[in-house]
Assembly symmetry: C2
Homo-oligomer: 363 residues x 2
Amino acid sequence: MDKKPVIAPKGRQQPRVKIEDVARKANVSPATVSRVLNHPDIVRPELRDRVMRHINDLAYTRDSAARALKSGRMRTVGVIVPTLALGIFAEGVEALQNRLSESGYTLFIANSQYDQRREFQELQSLIERGIDGIVLVGASHGRELRSLIEQAGVPVITTYVAKAGGGIPAIGIDNESATREMTEYLLRLGHVRFGAIANVVAASNDRSRARLEGIQRALSDAGLPLKPTQTVKADYSLAQGRSALRQLLTDHPDTTAVICTTDTLAIGAMAEARKMGLAVPATLSITGFDDVELAAQMDPPLTTVSVPAAEIGRGAADYLINAIAGSPVPRSVVLPYRLVMRSSSAPPRPNFRPARRGRSRDH
Amino acid sequence: MDKKPVIAPKGRQQPRVKIEDVARKANVSPATVSRVLNHPDIVRPELRDRVMRHINDLAYTRDSAARALKSGRMRTVGVIVPTLALGIFAEGVEALQNRLSESGYTLFIANSQYDQRREFQELQSLIERGIDGIVLVGASHGRELRSLIEQAGVPVITTYVAKAGGGIPAIGIDNESATREMTEYLLRLGHVRFGAIANVVAASNDRSRARLEGIQRALSDAGLPLKPTQTVKADYSLAQGRSALRQLLTDHPDTTAVICTTDTLAIGAMAEARKMGLAVPATLSITGFDDVELAAQMDPPLTTVSVPAAEIGRGAADYLINAIAGSPVPRSVVLPYRLVMRSSSAPPRPNFRPARRGRSRDH
DNA sequence: CCTAACTCTGAAATCGATTTCAGAAATCGA
DNA sequence: TCGATTTCTGAAATCGATTTCAGAGTTAGG
């Protein structure tokens, strides 16, 4: 007689209430229930309330699959980051998610481990899922990835960089310019013997590559081009920062300033410097990039570049929300970075000093 | 007259290739194409290859909405973490995502900012999305949240804790036992004047609360119960670790061991200790919890408890995949933590030393 | 009081893939 | 060679919500 199983064997206990159930209870058609939910203003208030009551009574929620199928919109956005282990990305993703959530979107997350092939696969999976928008990191993507995006016709934005090729809009900072400024600052302090530690091992890490280029350019412009051995490549671990510094100082013991493309590397370098008995900044100035929470708490506090990760995340969310809605969107957004001068950097020891306007500290 | 806009204003350019298109090209029925994709083994190899070729030619991908509608499975899992800013959660989420991805699942991510109301809202949104499984953090959840889960009939698992109430399975470590062991270790070293710094400000942070209880229990058992002023409550920031230590030492200048419920707090405490001119571990032993990457790189390296975050993430993924498939699943999984003794902890200065078997270091 | 102009609601088609059911083709044994 | 299995494929129903189209009901104007 009654069709409801007394107790479902294992799976869903209730067969899930559907729009038709609500319609029957409320003595209206499914169409009306749908209207109540989607266009409340075109339903007679009295009727609307009655239907609403039954919706609540039955705790009805519409099936998003059916909804998506009919409407063609999933109300879903995907993001692919290299890794979540880096606070800078975690922060951006968190901001992204928060903003999307406010607008009724949900965020799919995936990570590529700095591997372009994996990025492509994850993107494929996301597109199959019917996402309405996609957030990427950086400008270096395979061409097949770009064509996949284009073919799918999904709005996309790439983050943490100021511009990306292939007509993809970007939101982020000008990485090269940031390290260029940082390098110029160190030059002004009077440094002449530089070293760079860059996590450019991963092919897709164009942020660090741009940062390295910023360093190189500034130094070339100053007539102090970096020799290959003055640049140590690393991945993004703290331990690599340590070994990189060791190697750098082995090759160039007289280095007075080390510029790292990441705070993690810089913190590793500082740890190693301490272990080697080198005073920072008296003997060696060290700078980082990202301004992670720890940077300010180091001893000495780390000079670095602050990246507005949360703002990038929010901006990416806003961009996609607008793009999906068909609203006009900016081509690209360049956000300001901020050089944070702390005490891990100082003029070099008064030795040979071609400083233009460096003030000596411990004269 | 004609309803189709000549050129889509902005959105999808191609009408998206559907299964029927593939079927027509390949001269088979949609059913066969579907079978090729879902049960390749029941289709004649020759035919299967032919269909496959056309699938690739047309770059066909099935519409997940339609798929989900028909099958009732979204192949989607949701996770709600307090925050991604903590490496320990980011690591777990990353492992979770990787494992899910291997099995064709996609991960929805949301964060609660340690707010139970927000957690509930995010869960609601995820459930409306039709997720097949949900991952939570910790055991403290509102009862309405639990009933929502139950009513939705969605498999759930909670993480980073050894057990949770309300019949919810858990995968994680025994937090209380871990700090109890840590405290006992410090007792064995000969410490008698303890302090604790715990991030128990957020009501929902039962991990840190359990850790604090572990400390308290061990000390009570040793006849050295912690006074209220020997416990400083904090949130999860590094800066709070600093101020907490300062406050602790203001109230109890003779403290010789400080146990923190988080590495972040411990690192903050170490920074402050250094600033105050206190030698670690000679004057003050400090311990943390989580074993973040930085812990090992500190000076001195931090004694802490290693939490298998990646394993937790993977385990949660496996649990849900099985639960969704209807396979038998374990009730709960308790993973081993690992006490990592590094040099931030040592016997107290030879002062008054009731050590049972502490070896003196600098005799 | 009757028709015109609206407003509101319901029936039914639709989105795209999956799967049951049954029939066609192929394989096998006699 | 013929019928009995077995294997494989296709037609059609189905998942649940949305939305068009048209008709029912209501109000207003003449």
